[in-house]
């Protein structure tokens, strides 16, 4: 009984953790340099992108290697739809970017979900490469160089501007707000019957069908929702850089976001968040010439080895590290109690 009650107080504490993290992130711009603020803003965008993939991989068990397609389409649509002379309004630009990503996700999902396992991985990769080459090889999005955004969008009405994304701090708070909202929505989704059904599909799809669930519809819904949020992340990355290029849709990007959620720990929303943080910071560290000198030019190798070490040492991801430590600390106590 006592163990159960301490467990529940711990879980209550654990529920407050994302709120606390949000508050810390909201206060951070007052304590960090502009460079660090930009870096954290970038992490927030990638955390949102990773969260969207977590719904697919960690919750539903659908390993997609083409998730960057929706990210990139959201980004390209943001830049292509922005007028050159005056700032666009966030009110219509965000839904437009998300809608474009959603539409492509519906198309890709409807076809790729007819396959399973490694075939699903390959088909999602193929569709993402298709989108990549559309932007890479045609003039539509400026080819290999990509295109620039002349004026960043704003949020305002009747002459008043509440949010001007040319201001980096405004962008920071927009990214934080979008991430918090996405996190909250996904947490709500996972708590609902829909979310529980997705978990059931990951654990045992055959049983779910036997119980009476048309699993294809559920998987397609998860795929489309994940695509929509990836589109939102794409909007943010386009505004952050005020530019897009085909690399946003490349399989490197799909692989990186997959690594983030694996690094953080699959099956937890906060794992995606922690993974995005860890991955981006590690990458920044290994790319830093001031810290590592000439080794920095081999960052892909050092980053790769580090991630292999992490995954080998922490098979449940960084989020599982706390659990492992707790168990190790508790184990001797239990032995003593047995004696």
């Amino acid at each position: 009984m006592q163990a159960a009650s301490t467990g529940s107080s711990r879980s209550r504490l654990s529920k407050l953790l994302p709120v606390a993290a949000g508050l810390v992130l909201a206060a951070l711009p007052w304590f960090v340099s502009p460079y660090q603020q930009d870096l954290i803003a970038k992490i927030l965008v990638y955390a949102l992108f990773a969260l969207s993939l977590e719904l697919l991989v960690g919750t539903t068990g659908l390993v997609s290697l083409g998730h960057a397609a929706f990210f990139g389409i959201g980004a390209y649509v943001t830049v292509l739809a922005s007028p050159q002379g005056a700032p666009a309004s966030i009110v219509w630009l965000v839904p437009l970017a998300m809608l474009a990503a959603t539409a492509y996700a519906l198309f890709v999902g409807a076809l790729s979900l007819r396959t399973r396992g490694v075939y699903f991985i390959m088909v999602t990769l193929a569709f993402a490469q298709m989108a990549y080459f559309v932007f890479h090889d045609t003039k539509l999005g400026g080819g290999t160089d990509g295109i620039f955004m002349y004026v960043r969008p704003v949020l305002g009405a009747g002459g008043a501007v509440w949010l001007d994304l040319e201001d980096k701090r405004h962008f920071y708070y927009l990214a934080l707000g979008a991430l918090a909202l996405t996190y909250a929505l996904l947490a709500l989704l996972l708590r609902s019957r829909f979310g529980h059904a997705l978990v059931g599909i990951r654990l045992n799809e055959q049983r779910m069908r036997a119980a009476g669930f048309r699993t294809y519809g559920y998987k397609l819904a998860a795929f489309v929702i994940a695509g929509a949020f990836a589109g939102l992340a794409g909007f943010l990355v386009a505004v952050k850089d005020a530019a897009v290029n085909p690399e946003l849709l490349s399989w490197h990007e799909s692989g990186a976001v997959l690594l983030m959620i694996i690094l953080g720990g699959l099956g937890h929303l906060r794992g995606a968040f922690i993974g995005a943080f860890a991955f981006t910071l590690l990458k920044e560290f290994f790319q830093s010439e001031s810290l590592l000198g000439p080794l920095a030019s081999h960052w892909q190798m050092t980053l790769g080895f580090t991630i292999i070490a992490f995954v080998a040492g922490l098979p449940k991801g960084l989020i599982g590290a706390g659990q492992m430590l707790r168990q190790r600390r508790r184990a001797p106590v239990r032995e003593a109690a047995d004696e």
Binding site: S192, A210, A211, G212
Partner: protein, 252 residues
């Protein structure tokens, strides 16, 4: 209630071929409420293939399946399940990471899915919780409702398998070797449960334990190499010459 009028579910001349192999050949069965219809036969006789076709997991090569008189031959498995055809698996097919209650609650949720109501908590769903608790009560698992399903004993997992099937509120039960690997006491409890369930369900039972089959079955169908060689009352099957030769062995 119990008059043997129209069967609840029936299959007519069901056939399934895998390439050149005919796993099930023109098999007809009728299931009605109040009866346990046992299907026995040696390994590879086509019993599991028959269940897979009835439940919709495997399409039939030819033949028809009717539920209440509606032709459901082309219905998907989820649609048949929601119409009242429940099945259990020979190899335990549970959600090992989830709690015993959640295993059943998730199965019960199939009847009231409402996936768009994302603001409602699944764990607080009164319908699925009620049905799940009821299924656990009936199968004697209420005491371990909070335990992770993967930590149950083998016998308890088999009981959970049945509980998950019951949680979908089926009218027809297709049970694929529910007694496999069970001890004597567990077998006894399961047979008592079957006796109770058949009053309100049409039951098809595939089972290897002959003592158990003869204890609960009201009708027995014997399959050999995908074909039905006899279908009759248990006492008639006991003395059926073809069955004695082909299945039970000549020494009987």
């Amino acid at each position: 209630m119990n008059e043997p009028a129209a069967p609840l579910m029936r299959a007519e001349r069901l056939t399934r071929r895998f390439g050149g192999l005919t796993a099930v050949n023109a098999v007809s069965v009728a299931l009605q409420v109040g009866q346990v219809h046992a299907v026995i036969g040696t390994n590879g006789a086509g019993k599991s293939t028959l269940i897979n076709m009835l439940s919709g997991e495997l399409p039939a090569t030819s033949g028809s399946i009717f539920l209440d008189s509606a032709d459901i031959t082309r219905w998907s498995q989820p649609a048949r399940s929601r119409a009242g055809v429940g099945r259990s698996y020979q190899r335990t097919t549970i959600f090992p990471e989830l709690s015993v209650l959640e295993n059943c609650r998730l199965s019960a949720q199939a009847a009231q899915q409402r996936p768009w109501r994302v603001w409602e908590s699944a764990a607080g769903c009164p319908h699925s919780n009620g049905v799940a608790r009821d299924a656990l009560e009936r199968t004697g698992l209420a005491g371990v409702a909070a335990r992770a399903a993967g930590l149950l004993s083998h016998g308890q997992k088999r009981q959970l398998e049945i509980a998950m099937c019951l949680a979908t509120r089926p009218r027809v039960l297709l049970l694929d070797e529910p007694l496999a690997g069970m001890g004597a006491a567990e077998t006894d409890r399961m047979l008592t449960l079957l006796e109770a369930l058949k009053r309100t369900h049409a039951v098809l039972l595939v089972e290897h334990d002959m003592d158990a089959v003869f204890r609960v079955a009201d009708v027995i169908t014997v399959m050999v190499n995908g074909e039905v060689i006899a279908s009759d009352l248990p006492q008639a099957i006991r003395t059926h010459p073809e069955v004695l030769v082909a299945y039970l062995g000549e020494e009987h």
